[in-house]
Amino acid sequence: MEYHLLTYSFLFLPIILILYKLTPSKFRWCLLLVVDIAFYLMISKALIVFFIFAVVITYCTGLMIDRLGSSNKYTGKMLKKHKRIILFIGIILNLSMLIVFKYFKLIGISFIAPIGISYYTLQTISYMTDICRRTISCEQNIGKLALYLSYFPQVIEGPISRYSNMKNELFAGKDLSYTNITSGYQRILWGLFKKMVIADHLAPAVYKIFLHPENYDGTVIAIGAIMFTTQLYAEFSGCMDIIIGSSETLSITLPENFRQPFFAKNASDFWHRWHITLGTWLKDYIFYPISLAKPLKKLSKKAKTIVGINISKMIVPTIALFFVWLTNGIWHGAGLTYLFYGMYYFVLIFIETICEPHIEKFCQKHSIYESNLLISSFRALKLFVIVNIGEMFFRAKSITSGFNMFKKIIFDFHLSSLKDANWGIDKYDMIICFFAIILLFIVDFIHEKNIKLRDVISNYKLPIRWAIWYALIFSIILTGAYGAGYTVIDMIYAAY
């Protein structure tokens, strides 16, 4: 059962809410755990064994690290060393499952992966590492750890949460509140709107163009790339709204995964706003450990004498950044296109890091301010181009296909071809999509101004408030891409 299906939001979730309300608060976490197991079984069936295996490994690793710290057997460096060895084994065991399911297809062996393996594996690593770093204490109850790793709203495609942020609300069994339920459902509706009205309408056109890009000229391909970026954003952020909204109904807060990414200043800022929880995970568990690694510190010192302070300062962050983007690319899948996608952003952010200080100096010297309309428009356009090219390679069948598409955009661009292009979507759906995207842009713009739209609407008088929600509900029912003539598209990020 995927989150965008009505069964999830309007049948499964209400049943859970009723059961949650009827259960004494002390045992509510137990109910959630039972629901998680049932939810997991419904999707992955026998593959739940691998999830249980991951929970046991993580639990034991956490416990062993914790006990090692409290015993007097080792102290100082030896303690640290032993803790790290246990942590390393725990990580390797968890990662090995991910590698087998996700990357063995590279050598021609493919399996159906347990649902959410890419997400919960990252959570197991963060949990074990945080215990080793002593930023959290070990969870003594294996059931509670299993609940944290399998919490049903997030198990399929994140957000990648941290144990420290989740434990209080997840295990507290807080009572349901009318405000949280209505607010959660309002967010679910907005998510369904993005998924069903925007993403699923664009899907057939994107599929068609990316399947046979050789049949289209550069103009259609460029629009196809923009369509895919829009589809991906509407789909992933829409599903996040459903996920976070459904958790909100249970009075459990999940971390945000999107913050108006298309209003970012540059590629680096974009990644602080797009798939935020993956970005912060990579920062905390790849970037910092590599930056602080002794061999790199030594390398930096040596480089100082050879190339000078300025360049040597850049060496360590650049190497760490390289591994961050390598991991980001590989995490998305086994294909070379994902690796390319990671390296694309590595190069871009590296160039940005070098150029930004010089550009800032130049702007200060010539009294050009960020708020200048021309500058901000240029930045927005630059980011838009960068993101769309990146997503085009990400979605392309192969790197060669991606380059061919790029070549067509540059050398084979004829606006006249738009007339005869067969998009696989009818004109009415295109019009609906166009207005829905404008609405999405307006909502994002309002959020960018730090205005909480749901709070604003809740302050309106009841008839206006309800009229807005009715309008949203019926726009989904009447214009959503479901039923005859449409294909319900599975969640894209659930496959990563």
Binding site: L6, T7, A484, G485
Partner: protein
Amino acid sequence: MDNTKETYNNIIKAVLFFTGLIIISTLLTVFIYKDNKKNIYDTIAVNNKINEIKNEPNDSLQVIFYGDSECYSTFYPKILSSEFNISSFVCATAAQHICDTYAILNENIRTQAPKVIVLETNCIFRKPKNTGTDKDIAMNFLSNHLSMFAHHSDWKILAKKALPKKRFKHKKNNKGFVIRKNTIPYRGGAYMKITKKTKKIPKKNLEYLNQIKSLCDNNNIKLILVSTPSPKNWSYKKHNGIYKWAAANSVTYIDLNLEKSLTINWKKDTKDGGDHLNFSGAKKVTRHIGEYLKKYILLKE
């Protein structure tokens, strides 16, 4: 006390909100989705095809083809017209359900008097009407019980009526045929392995098939069932299922998957690795079926 009052207030608000939702849904159902379309799966596609046939001169078509994408990728009316002097039209729609075949045929015979109806058999095995997805129980329930969900896109029909017709006219009139020139070879080898096993026609579909047969009989139309070449969609089990029904009802059945004289080259004649035929494959099949249709029509005349 205050808490209890607030709870009651919230319950009343929720009840009122859902009542409003039901009232609006009812109004929409009464004013927009009032037509009885319970037996149509894809109203927009059905409507389009009905209108396309209405645009043809009355009683001008000798043969009408029905079915899904297998059908509109295969039968090319221009060849039938130029080489066999047969006027025809393809009334196939993407993933056509047999309930829609019946709905289109039922309307078509009001303005046309075809001699032959060709039904491509792939749609006979398509799961009976269900507008939701298999996975979405709630959506299935709503679609099966509320026409607003099942035919939610029908506002397009109203919009089409309201907007000037000129803007929506098709530039090329291939009489329902879709030209597909791509080639992705099929490399799976032989696919019609002889078996005695039979794939049963779903019960609901069987009812529609019988209704189509009666409609044809009542209007003096010959019904021909044709299975177009498709390693991805066709099998001997399906062949047996159709053959049994055709034999029991004295209906002509041509399985082109078993036709050796057809010489389909699976390296060149398929658009997508054995699912649909491309233009080259379509020309071969159209000429083959053209010969048959010509003989039959001449005989009848």
